[in-house]
Symmetry: C2
Subunit: 418 residues, 2 copies
């Protein structure tokens, strides 16, 4: 497999002002394409460091994707560093200049003379047009490595990678990307996933795990030549063992009956199912403090199925807005099965939604007791012909308890919509 | 100034499964301590790459902080790589072994034989005790650089850096950290900040900017020897120019009357002010979908001042829960000054809170019109003797409009609490 490195340029990276998310994004894409990622390098805006990095990488890798340093200011040095490292003069690219001018015209702004700098590119390079920002990128060959230089703005960088760099990679390398199927799980830890898979040793697949709070992913990696029948058989075996926690199967060669294979996070999957049934949702949140509503409304078009979310933090609000009886609060306490059920029923009835879902719990760090320690959470759900309750003991700090509660509530609803 | 590099180890870093937040955290801390950060390097779990990285870094830097590769499994290679790179044999550290055993005993678990590996350290190293996890770290000297090797788990790494590495650094280096004062701003872009500071050229300070959506930070960097009087004078000058957007001043040598110098994000600052006045808050959110409630309830103890947050996404919910007159909705539309004011008044009156704050807007991508394009947002506020309204045209995609609206709403309340 060809080897690749990722080079990130900029003082803001090297001094830690910015977390280098570009490097991880690129590394994951390149790995999936079939490159062996060997190294990440981050350097500041200093000419000798940059030139040195280009030359060293050229000695040991087949590909290097670089980000940053293509702007119009004096500390944008990538083009000059490439020119010095590989002895190719920098020249004005008329087409790049015309594109820059056209872009400024389109936004009715005048291009400052300094921006013309961005149209000077290393001689003999392949220009990578930037339809999403101003700075064009370029690709050049060293003695061994192919270098693709992209802007550091993540949005522009990602679009340009997909539209401009991918075709180049297929041209220059004979890539044999693995086939990757991801089973996205919630409500389970990695150790329980591993336990459920113990003794399962399918042939011709590499099994991996990845935690992405609140999700855990089971990754099944097949060779590029694996047959669809084999892949599907292995995926079905995995679902037999861990399916109870899976809300989405991504990358499978065929749809799987009864499973979401369209991708998306948990709220997206729930939203799609509600839309398909023309159902609506109302929420009553306490310890999650609006986070379930926020997850639902992060999607465009949520107003088709999301009616309202009541963050009833105080007991008075639970009584007034949801009709939870004061006697029930007094007898069971706000964090209890009875109150969770009453909250879900109350918000459903008053809003007229098809489904009412509630959460009440103790997110911490204080407020816990011996019988109800921090992490105690009760979920309630009321639907057209169902009522359900789930009691949880969640681990971790306040943030984690809140995030895991959001996922558990959405997952409870997803299961009832299955 | 001494130079430093950061080395991150692990296949999960180099293949992009994990974003390397350790590198940025360490780089920022080391920069603040007075090191010149030269480079970040990330390598996978391969012995030759690791040994090569240690040797190369030793040739060019005075300090290297390494993370990862200290676990008990076969792909944890840091100790062996250091031993090979610098020719120091690995030996069992009895004290480290005793600490490991004690830790397992404390949690009532049996230590697996494989964990004993973690007590084998390079001969002549300084052991860095890990009170927050299992793997101890260590520090060794190469021919030039001091290497400090820490676990990759961010929580353990950060605690160990502060408790174990910091003292070592002060021992080995004569550090002259800059004095850094940060003015945290909201509701303003970087270009407007720069404009407001145009022509201001104070002596003996470096002025920098950092965008951290939804905040913009103005950073004033002084030398270690700058006098407190000088620093305070420069900070006051900056506040004269940009104070209208500043909600927090961090790192100043003295408190500044009328300004929050205790740190914290916008919701924390608002919460502190409400607690100090024994005031309470109720929210009516539409386009922000619960995000203001989530920001408020991310703080422990929010129940002292946060009563409730109503995510009234549908018009029916605005009428039923907030008492917004149907005629007002029909005449002005849901996204309007009249509705924002009615929402704030309604939630305040019905909840009995001291303050009612509301947001209604168009987050996009669809739903905009010529008169009310995507990004149109109205904020309402009603307090004991105040009513206010703010109309905004926010840039960016759905996520950005939502995040900027949250900040604008909290900031409006903060200004009225000043």
């Amino acid at each position: 497999m060809p080897t690749a490195e990722v080079l990130s340029q900029g003082d803001e990276i090297v001094t830690g002002q910015t977390v280098d998310s570009n490097a991880a994004w690129l590394a994951e894409r390149l790995t999936d394409l079939g490159f062996t990622l060997v190294r990440h390098v981050g350097v500041g805006d200093r000419m000798p460091d940059l030139v040195g990095a280009f030359r060293t990488i050229d000695e040991r890798a087949d590909l290097c994707v670089c980000t940053g340093g293509l702007g119009p200011t004096d500390d944008d040095l990538t083009t000059a560093a490439v020119a010095e490292a590989f002895g190719c003069p920098v020249r004005l690219d008329e087409e790049a200049l015309a594109q820059l001018r056209a872009r400024y015209d389109r936004f009715g702004r005048k291009m400052a003379p300094v921006n013309e700098r961005q149209a000077w590119l290393p001689e003999g390079c392949v220009r990578l047009d930037n339809d999403w920002g101003t700075a064009p990128g370029f690709a050049v060959r060293g003695s061994r490595a192919l270098f693709a230089c992209l802007p550091g703005v993540p949005r522009e960088m990602r679009k340009m990678f997909d539209a401009r760099v991918l075709p180049l990679l297929h041209e220059h390398f004979s890539l044999q990307p693995d086939q990757l199927v991801t089973l996205r799980c919630v409500g389970v830890g990695e150790s329980d996933l591993q336990q459920a898979l113990e003794g399962w040793e399918p042939a011709n697949v590499t099994v991996g795990f990845r935690t992405k709070l609140p999700e855990n992913h089971l990754k099944l990696r097949f060779s590029t030549s694996a047959e669809a029948d084999h892949v599907m058989a292995v995926v079905e075996q995995a679902l037999d063992r861990v399916g109870q926690w899976v809300f989405s199967v991504e990358g499978a060669p065929r749809p799987i009956h009864g499973w979401n294979t369209e991708g998306g996070d948990l709220a997206t999957v729930v939203g799609r199912r509600l839309v398909a049934r023309q159902h609506t949702l109302a929420l009553a949140e306490s310890c999650t403090g609006g986070r379930i509503s926020a997850a639902c409304t992060s999607m465009p078009g949520a107003s088709a199925w999301f009616l309202e979310g009541l963050v009833t933090y105080s007991n008075a609000a639970k009584v007034r807005l949801l009709g939870v009886p004061e006697a029930v609060l007094a007898e069971h306490g706000a964090v209890s099965e009875a109150v969770a059920r009453a909250m879900a029923a109350g918000v459903r009835e008053r809003s007229g939604a098809t489904w009412g879902v509630s959460v009440t719990g103790i997110a911490g760090p204080s407020g816990g007791s011996e019988h109800k320690p921090v992490g105690t959470v009760h979920l309630g759900l009321v639907g057209p012909s169902t009522e359900a309750h789930l009691a949880l003991r969640l681990p971790g700090d306040r943030h984690r308890v809140q995030e895991l509660s959001v996922a558990a509530a959405l997952n409870l609803l997803r299961q009832h919509l299955a």
